[in-house]
């Protein structure tokens, strides 16, 4: 199947336009680590306490662990981490049930 030259050019042009669009979007995001960024506010735009600021302020006090990523993954968001482990475990169980050869059908 051969693509005509016009179609190829059109595809390339739209790809280029999409790339420019995405780069502009990335560039207009708040800079990484900027204290004024909306994600780092103690009280966010909706008037609720922001999660990120709370984690940074109280991770060490709550769990006596210097690595706050570990505290978020293992404590504040441990239910999410449980889901990740279940995904790996489900993959192992699925492979076991479908692919493993038992002794009686070894022949």
């Amino acid at each position: 199947m051969k693509m005509s030259k016009g179609k190829k050019l059109l595809g390339f042009a739209s790809l280029l336009a999409l790339t420019v669009l995405l780069l502009v979007a990335v560039d207009s995001l708040p800079k990484r680590g900027l204290p004024d960024a909306p994600a780092h506010q103690v009280i966010n735009a909706a008037g609720n306490p922001g999660a990120g600021a709370y984690f940074i302020r109280s991770a060490y006090e709550d769990a006596a662990t210097p690595n706050m990523v570990t505290v978020v993954l293992g404590d504040y968001r441990s239910f999410d981490t449980l889901g990740e482990v279940v995904v790996v475990f489900a993959a192992a169980i699925a492979c076991y049930l479908i692919l493993r050869r038992r002794e009686d059908e070894e022949k």
């Binding site: 006090e61 709550d62 769990a63 006596a64 662990t65 210097p66 690595n67 990523v69 570990t70 505290v71 993954l73 293992g74 404590d75 441990s78 239910f79 981490t81 449980l82 990740e84 482990v85 279940v86 790996v88 475990f89 993959a91 192992a92 169980i93 492979c95 076991y96 479908i98 692919l99 493993r100 050869r101 059908e105 022949k107």
Partner: protein, 156 residues
């Protein structure tokens, strides 16, 4: 792939490397409170150590490292350690996974959370390591009579 490698160099290098990879995996799990790392990363490293031996020494010779028959039960155990800890906390009246609710005498809630995270990380490491080894053993098949009858038995 699970037939032993013929090359002496590959065998010796992988035997030496596997030990260091696994020690580093343990370090990554246990030191996850202080440096980047944790159960997933350490479990993947431990699995890499086992699978390196699996690939170079062959499946039969590498069974003493981690037998295929116990890999899947150990993966279940790892998941049960994680989920079971949450259930234990429920019995002490706390929310699911709220480690601080368990009353341990002579220990402040922050330290209880510290050890709760450690138990969880060990459970994750166990589940990921044995889960990956189990998947590898299921998906890669030994061909004892390698040759034209490959896959004749099918999945049956």
């Amino acid at each position: 792939m699970t037939n032993p490698s013929q090359s002496l160099i590959i065998k010796m290098v992988s035997r030496t490397l596997a030990a260091f990879i696994q020690v580093f995996g343990l370090y990554v799990i246990i030191h996850g409170h202080y440096s980047p790392g944790g159960g997933f990363q350490g479990g993947a490293l431990l699995a890499a150590g086992v699978l390196l031996i699996r690939m170079t020494e062959g499946r039969e010779a590498s069974q003493p490292t981690l037998a295929t028959a116990i890999a899947t039960p150990l993966a279940s155990l790892g998941a049960v350690i994680f989920a079971g800890l949450g259930v234990v906390i429920l019995f002490f009246g706390g929310n699911y996974m709220d480690y601080g609710a368990v009353p341990v005498p002579g220990m402040e809630p922050a330290m209880i959370r510290y050890y709760g995270i450690l138990i969880v990380e060990v459970g994750i490491g166990l589940a990921v390591m044995t889960g990956l080894v189990s998947i590898f053993d299921d998906m890669v098949r030994t061909n004892r009579q390698s040759g034209p009858d490959l896959g004749k038995g099918g999945l049956s």
